[in-house]
Symmetry: C2
Subunit: 375 residues, 2 copies
């Protein structure tokens, strides 16, 4: 294939309408000029999007496959998203639901550094879901946060993730906090190793700072002994993640947080499909772990939408490596066994605020999480 394909879900009255809308998307996201002034030759034949197929899905709903040449993109992810759903994101009744990469796209956007299999190696956990407490709240001192890191890591957490709201506030500046938290987790890991455990805890530091400091802060975290970073593509841009994933000097796994991305998936009629955003695009952009709100928590995702995210994180044919889905958002211990049936073993199970109820006994909660996932 000399072109990659994007599938759009369209609201349209009939086939004519659907085909017209598809042609408009092909124009809008590439040349953005009326069809009659598209220059013949290279621009028309290569750069312009091409409608490959339009099929009816159900009453009033159509699927359009539109192909694009890598020449319309270049090598940079922002322009790829421009082509996939740039101006078309402003069109009501147009929703991008899947991307089928070709060799060009795979070569330029290779995706995650570790993915599903890499995380097994890094944690040492050969099988079973990953236990992932979230360290919070913001406003706490670095010492208090580091203590939570130590207690949860020591008790067997696979991943110790910072809350995405721990940025660079005065109460716990990024560098001070990350150094203390990394030390705490590494101390716990040393004790676990001394006790003969074959798994270790990975501390994921949340990148909190300016958009143009992401690389510097990520390298700082790596130097300080963190084992991964958390990044918010909805605020820092998907390319910030992609650049870190391809950076020769940065070698840690990346967890993507969904903050500020809600509007892209909340309507069936525009934005991205759940699987496309939290699966395909996260893979394409280099996330090793994709956090999303579990059904039945504080957010309104359905079981089917969550299932689609998991399927697209794991699918063999997606862009880049298969990655780990990570459901969270108001989960509690008693839901874990149930979640395991939907999400399986290759999944990072988040538990945040409710763990704080355990106070200094938070390690017990980690043990209970482990038992629920292994049970």
């Amino acid at each position: 294939m000399d072109r990659f394909e994007v599938t759009y879900r369209l609201l349209a009255d009939d086939r004519n309408d659907a085909e017209g809308r598809a042609e408009n998307i092909a124009l809008e996201d590439t040349v953005e000029i009326p069809r009659d002034v598209v220059p013949h030759g290279y621009v028309e034949d290569v750069v312009l999007g091409r409608v490959e197929a339009v099929t009816q899905e159900s009453e009033g709903i159509w699927l359009a496959r539109i192909s694009y040449h890598i020449d319309a993109v270049g090598c940079e992810l922002p322009q790829l998203l421009n082509v996939v759903l740039g101006n078309a994101s402003i069109l009501a009744g147009v929703k991008a639901i899947a991307i089928a990469p070709n060799a060009d796209l795979r070569a330029r956007f290779p995706g995650a550094r570790y993915g599903v299999s890499g995380l097994r190696t890094l944690t040492g956990r050969r099988a079973g879901g990953y236990v992932c407490p979230v360290i919070k709240p913001q406003g706490s001192s670095p010492e208090k946060l580091a203590r939570l890191c130590y207690l949860t890591a020591r008790a067997g957490a696979d991943i110790v993730k910072e809350d995405h709201g721990l940025a660079n506030q005065d109460a716990a500046p990024f560098r001070t906090r990350v150094r203390l938290c990394a030390d705490a987790v590494n101390r716990a890991n040393a004790e676990r190793a001394d006790a003969g455990e074959t798994t270790q805890s990975l501390y994921f530091a949340n990148i909190g700072g300016h958009g143009d400091e992401v690389r510097e802060l990520a390298l700082f975290a790596q130097e300080a002994g963190a084992h991964g970073i958390l990044l918010i593509p909805g605020l820092f841009g998907f390319d910030a993640m992609n650049r870190l994933a391809q950076d020769a000097d940065f070698t840690l796994p990346i967890m993507a947080h969904p903050s500020h991305l809600g509007p892209y998936v909340l309507s069936p009629d525009f934005g991205y499909g759940h699987g496309m955003l939290f699966g395909d695009l996260m893979r394409l952009s280099g996330a090793d772990i994709s956090v999303f709100p579990n059904h039945g928590g504080r957010f309104g995702f359905s079981v089917d939408q969550c299932g689609e995210i998991v399927a697209r994180c794991h699918a063999a044919e997606g862009p880049g490596r298969a990655i780990l889905p990570s459901p969270g958002g108001g989960m509690s211990l008693d839901r874990l066994a149930d979640m395991k049936r939907l999400y399986g073993e290759d999944c990072v199970y988040l538990l945040g605020g409710s763990l704080l109820r355990f106070g200094d006994n938070i390690g017990e909660a980690i043990g209970q999480m482990r038992a629920a996932l292994d049970g």
Copy 2:
């Protein structure tokens, strides 16, 4: 005021429901833990969002004003957006519609460098709307794009804006293209000056490249003789724009393009209000000019929504300086007189693809735009 305020539009059944939802947002976007485990003292008193007022707007629709302390933010824009609408962006029925800055917020996010009054100085145009052709399509050679720049600038365009799809593709790599286009506009300006004209054309180069190259590319454009840059906050992040606006070495005005931002405004029930996104947030993030899709073009914004954007770009009490709205998206010459009645003089009028129909006589179209705005 020791706190800044955000107004949210909520879907709720009754006052109890509305107040509960407001309290949840205050938690969600700051500490993100259950209310009963929020630590007493600093975290509860300062960091936690505070519901200031909940009022009914109409049947099922409520307005909540929630205040936040700058300590929950720090100095960086990504975390400000986390607080304003981070996780809450994933909550259906929650829409942020206005922000009222306090002194802390104004000090940390001073906004645009030039704004409405600064652009009058830079262009030399004392009064009247700004004529702004858009240079395209992508796939064209740098020479062809530079020729369009020259012809439109020479004919009196106030701003010559690159299409947001001109990124860094092989057909016209960023540096080659920007150098040629800047030269072309500067040559036209020299000829205009020789002819005794007191206005000049500003060439806005589209930043096309990786997310971590924005500053380098913007400084390159400045060195090459560009007079402004176009940036897509929906792809590069709002902080990329904010950082440039506050950068001591970068001195050009910034135009923000709405690509990839559609889903934030398309639903009345989540995301941002039109005025908040294309007015308040663009001002806060340092845009001098805010591009948005005009009503009646290819996109579905209403007259009222466009009017709200203009009002919020211009409002004296908003964050940072007043800025210029810039409606576009499938406009044509015959609509300009009508648009002028809605948008007034402090507005950048975009005209893109339809100009290409004029071919080598594109300068005539610029003259007609000027006449329509001055008539």
